[in-house]
Amino acid sequence: MDKSIVIEPGNEAANYWKDIWHFRSLFYFLAWRDVLVRYKQTTIGIAWSIVRPLLTMLVMAGIGWIFNAPIPNGIPRLLWVCAATLPWQFFSSAFSESSGSLVANANLLTKVYFPRMIVPISSVIVCVFDFLISVSIMLVAMWYYQYMPALQIVWLPFFMVLLFIIALGSGLFIAALNVKYRDFRYVIPFIVQFGLYVSPISFSSTDVLQHAGIPSYIKLLYMLNPVVGVIDGFRWCIFGNISIQWTSVIISVICAFGILMLGIFNFRRMEKSFADVI
């Protein structure tokens, strides 16, 4: 670091990505801190990472069972719902954690310099960690039903990355706004709750997209929810031989990158005033 640093208004962008690289240890340490702290003074500790998605899954499967939501190819209902619950749970926690992360770390923002983007990114990383733990639910359920995943499973990382991008992009976007307008504190839980009902978790997206009574513009609007494409993708990877709306996957990919660009752009735009307004 022998090079000189120039501080000038409007010059904040210079070296930004280089600085992120310089502070790369911080991604790890902030995520590590959150993982360590999360379950301190809890009795069952890290088991919460299993219990929460497990209960969500059971409830959603129960709802699907009561309303008799159709499932293709005789796939066990629990597996069907589980394949959707895990990505959804990741998205909702990554989105809400990263949205609130800047405000939660306000003391850091006003006292030390580092590229601010590290904070929301590392809170998404924490959720990846939780997600990997919760995957064990799926594995246990598959073992129980003696269900072999399809060959398409090799595509799963692609959908995982896609979901990561969606969660990160929307998290960055809201996190920056949340610094200035704390209204988002109330908006975030609402979005998450709303999303749980509209995303195809207890049912499949084909139920919506092929429903005769739903006008086509609502269907298009429905596909604009990028999580829909990802959940469809997860199910396709695991269960193979099912119909998948490729349009909704393509829309997801486009939306994901759009959201990420928008999130980064908005974050960089608002970032310089964080320490002044937080």
Binding site: I5, I7, E8, F29, K40, Q41, N107, Y113, K180
Partner: protein
């Protein structure tokens, strides 16, 4: 040789909103304000700009240990924040040649639930160290902090002294070419303070540069070789030998002891009754510069009525920390009821028999209501300085990290 820090015409502007009640901006307010602007074009009068720094320039050479001296609100902290890239300047240009580390607070990012060991790593990373770097210095840090025995205890169980020692130990082992330190040494016991100052001197002995802000003039003169005086956001005395800077500072502080509230124009309210001056008195009614914790302190507020018959007068003094946090309000309304009437001009006295604030600097806001209508509101009307004293009469000084307020007060009007 090129200077390590080159500051050219730096200015920093803050926008102050006057609806002080809101801790943060809500979207609704912005929408309403924008809607109002469409209906009634013109600048919203609630926003006022304030230059925390204006046109500051200086150059610091490698190996210099510079003390930045100034009263509260002189812009010292803003300058350090701009230099450490926490806030961006509004105008100007700074060139830093070398790796920079800033210590604006002891233990930034310490998490109470984590152990000492874990916090060393976390804090090190936050200050910009790499994992390998922290690992290689780990033993040294632990030895410096003197908390070996409690390394695996969560820091929430630490005493405040242990906490500070551990936090400073991490920071002291950063190896930047430029080190920026803000009053962090005010905490901790005297012996450890000495050790820290020694450590910082070691750092500069090897050609490093230190920027140091403190109100502790003795530690400034022992640590620094040069000083600069800031006043109201501008450079009052350019870089000079430290002793010159300290004597210059002492001179201007005495000069400013009497605040000229009557000349303030940035006030609000109807204006029927206005504050004209503020003084701090001791029990013998003699003016003092520094209040002492635990002793009797009298706030004297001179006022003047402007062809106005003041009735039901409620006056209040808000005491704020330098971070803007409200400590307490002395208000006659609560303490003993409003004054029924007031002479045309005179003084209000608020007597605090045992002054409850611990050492430090505080800002005062003054406000007066008549019949429930605000007549004068002067923010940051004055700064007061408080020294530690024997509040409890036990001979023990309360640590500044254990601030608490117990207030008995008496008011009278003349």
């Amino acid at each position: 040789m090129q200077p390590v820090i080159e500051v050219e015409n730096i200015s920093k502007q803050y926008l102050i909103r006057h609806e002080k009640g809101l801790p943060y901006q809500a979207l609704r307010d912005v929408l309403v304000r924008n809607a109002k602007q469409i209906l009634k074009p013109g600048k919203p009068k609630t926003i006022e700009s304030f230059w925390a720094l204006s046109d500051v320039s200086f150059q610091i050479n490698s190996g210099d240990r510079v003390g930045i001296i100034g009263r509260n609100g002189a812009g010292k902290s803003t300058l350090l924040k701009v230099l450490s890239r926490i806030v961006t300047p509004t105008k100007g240009r700074i060139t830093l040649r070398g790796r920079i580390a800033s210590l604006l607070e002891v233990g930034t990012g310490f998490h109470p639930e984590l152990t000492g060991r874990e916090n060393i790593f976390l804090n090190g990373a936050i200050l910009g160290m790499h994992k390998a770097e922290i690992k290689s210095k780990f033993d040294e840090i632990v030895a410096f902090s003197e908390v070996e025995k409690f390394l695996d205890t969560p820091v929430k169980r630490y005493s405040s002294g242990m906490y500070v020692r551990l936090a400073f130990a991490v920071a002291a082992h950063l190896e930047p070419e430029i080190l920026i330190v803000d009053e962090v040494l005010a905490v901790g016991d005297a012996e450890f303070q000495k050790k820290c100052i020694g450590k910082m001197k070691d750092v500069s002995g090897s050609g490093r540069t230190i920027l140091f802000v403190s109100h502790n003039l003795p530690s400034l003169s022992s640590l620094c070789n040069k000083g600069m005086v800031l006043h109201k956001g501008t450079v009052n005395l350019p870089l000079s030998p430290i002793q010159d800077a300290i004597s210059h500072y002492t001179k201007i502080t005495q000069h400013l002891a009497q605040s000229v509230i009557s000349q303030r124009t940035d006030r609000q309210g109807e204006g029927g009754i206005r504050f004209t001056a503020f003084n701090l008195l001791n029990a013998q009614m003699q003016p003092i510069d520094i209040a002492v914790c635990g002793q009797t302190v009298i706030f004297k507020l001179d006022y003047c009525c402007n062809k106005f018959e003041a009735k039901q007068i409620a006056a209040a003094i808000g005491i704020y920390g330098l971070d803007g946090q409200l400590f307490t309000v002395f208000a006659n309304e609560y303490a003993q009821g409003n004054f029924a009437t007031a002479p045309n001009s005179g003084s209000m006295y608020c007597t605090i028999e045992k002054f409850p604030l611990t050492s430090g600097k505080y800002a005062l806001n003054l406000i007066v209501y008549c019949n429930g209508i605000m007549h004068d509101w002067v923010q940051q009307a004055a700064m007061i300085e408080v020294d530690d004293g024997d509040f409890y009469g036990t001979g023990k000084t309360v640590a500044s990290t254990h601030r608490s307020i117990l207030v008995a007060q008496k008011w009278k009007m003349e």
